[in-house]
Symmetry: C2
Subunit: 450 residues, 2 copies
Amino acid sequence: MTPFKLTEELIAQIEELIENQRDTELNSLLGDVHYADIAEIINELNEDEATYLIKLLDSHKTSDVLTELDEDVREAILGNLSSKEIADELGELDTDDAADIIGELPQEMIQQVISEIEDREHAKDIVDLLRYDENSAGGLMAKELVKVRENWNVLTCVKEMRAQAENVTRVHSIYVVDEEDKLIGRLSLKDLLTTSTKTHIKDVYIAKVDSVNVNEKPEEVAKIMSKYDLEAIPVVDEIGRLVGRITIDDIVDVIREEADKDYQMAAGISQDVEADDGVWELTRARLPWLILGLFGGLGAAAIMGGFEEMIAKHAVLFFFTPLIAAMAGNVGVQSSAIIVQGLANDDLKGSISNRLVKEMLLALLNGVILATILLLFTWVWQGAFLSSLAISISLIAVIVVAGFIGTFIPLFLHKRGIDPAIATGPFITTSNDIFGILIYFMIAKLILGI
Amino acid sequence: MTPFKLTEELIAQIEELIENQRDTELNSLLGDVHYADIAEIINELNEDEATYLIKLLDSHKTSDVLTELDEDVREAILGNLSSKEIADELGELDTDDAADIIGELPQEMIQQVISEIEDREHAKDIVDLLRYDENSAGGLMAKELVKVRENWNVLTCVKEMRAQAENVTRVHSIYVVDEEDKLIGRLSLKDLLTTSTKTHIKDVYIAKVDSVNVNEKPEEVAKIMSKYDLEAIPVVDEIGRLVGRITIDDIVDVIREEADKDYQMAAGISQDVEADDGVWELTRARLPWLILGLFGGLGAAAIMGGFEEMIAKHAVLFFFTPLIAAMAGNVGVQSSAIIVQGLANDDLKGSISNRLVKEMLLALLNGVILATILLLFTWVWQGAFLSSLAISISLIAVIVVAGFIGTFIPLFLHKRGIDPAIATGPFITTSNDIFGILIYFMIAKLILGI
């Protein structure tokens, strides 16, 4: 497979074809292109061109294209379509994707669009899904699944399954329910391929099946599915009835988004921006953290101002403040990143106090090594042993405290139910800068006896 | 499903049962526990206990447990098993998992273990897989797949498929090959469920099938599979022959590892450590970056030493160096994180120079806002307008340069084929600290005319 490559030439070519309304050529040019690639193309077009293409291409394909578009592009295109046209697109989609798109429409449009979806069962399923919180298993699941009753015989079962499978893009498991629709087990497709057709369901189904509650958080669903290597998981309501199914492709998106969010938080960017967003959006995402850093810096300046009388005798102490601040920040970020990641991957075991003791031991070890290097360097360089010693000993203290803060804050936030990722970035750096410089000057003052 | 919860009580109970060799109770206690959960339990046991459990439990289950264990725990356990015992475990596993485990064994063991695997076809497949680089599609793929020839009739096909499916845990697609084993298309399971049994393969198969080359990088495979929502992708060799298949659960691991790695790099931790690793391993992962930061700090100190004559008249300038350093670091990390993430997700479009201009505009906007806040604050606080102005104007320059460095370095590394994630953490912070402080003092000197 040669991967699709989005080029400026291709975009220019398509824009020209649209301008001249060369529909046949457009159709043949894009006929074999995957919908995810067509979405990339459309993201680069202007609103009129985009709408033109969506109306032109086969709605079987454009419905999938719609799910892959950037949100603002999709919103603009949908604004140019009639409720009948939108309903036709949604009719082609799985219920979860259809519900996601419909949820973005203005309230007054939703009802109208739903009333125009031809397949009434499909419309009913979409309405069901709209009830669930976006940030829950219910918000992720689709209604498309293959289920059979335990008391069916194999003939009924295969017939029913064939009908159901028509609506299901990918069949993973066949779910077995009792007469109250409660999930009681599953049949694997492999069993279906390798079992004689005369067998009865209740004799062949596997009574053990993983499932998640409809209110479960997406991150938890992701953890369960990736831990147990599941490609699909059934979703049950509060009394155990089978209400939907989540597939791994949706979970891959959850994992990516979660990782991106943590990474951006660590870098001091409020979530949900991309490199191609506008300057203003990017500024809004970054500026708050920079302002936090600014006030942290002002705090550090105030602390240093309080030790001004030391300048005359030990100016060198002031030259080392960026070093102290940087080390405090780096150690804090390292400690907190390890904790945040451990919490996200669920592999933190043992008590909080053990964890703190370990991190502080680690910080002490790093601190002693770094302080020794620093002592040798500054002593040789500055020639003043006592101030070099003061700087080095302060460095150890600063590093241990930074390790403590970096470990404690995310654990504390997590216990309080707050996303600890917020603690890794500028928040830790800034507070460690201030504490670091304060500790540094206090210890230096003590040792140098000023 | 009530999720499994690893408790200290459970571990204590299991340890006691092992000590008293209560095999029946152990078997019934762990019989229904998922292998991923048993792996979590065993990670907490000592070597002898762990080996005891692995030998006790059904090898159908323990083989899967082995794949989920921490690497050091697995190594210790395998060291206590005979080559025959290891061969039996590997015989139960899919070829990709078996090859991964066997690849960790000492060279002299590998041949012996392979020679004792009973199923010779399986052994041959494992040996084939050992040839591939771990960091390639070949290193990820398994040999288990279901394939049919285009010239078969449906009867042969179903019979052959049933035999093949016995070895395949999850059937995703049925691949269609020509007489030279070249991949030419696929059949979906859904087609199989919904098509009459009298149809011929060449009349029903889909001639379009995504595939990846055996030398493709795992990250690329992950991008392709998640972009196109694939649950399995066939792997072909240089001349298009079908040699294996990669499933989405392996890709989920790749995505997680990739995200974890980028996150750790950004936090200044060399990859591949977890919170529960030993103090020494954690130190080794962190110390190099801290030493880098230390020398950065020494560089900053040297620069400040060069401006020592300014201390007498403008001590306040020195109080603001942590602020300048922090802002330079934060802006640099923000810019580089956006670029690194854009590169990782393949959504950076347009030229490098456009990107640089945009980031510098953004930095200028942020810089002016922040400098204005700083000017008002310091002016009111310190009362000295000129030095406040000098600090504020320098801040703008520092932020713009930091934005430039933060954008340029990852783009440059990426162009050179180096993982740009290395640029987000302490590397950017440290170089921006130094440049920031240098620019700050130079501009301040210019404005204050010292």
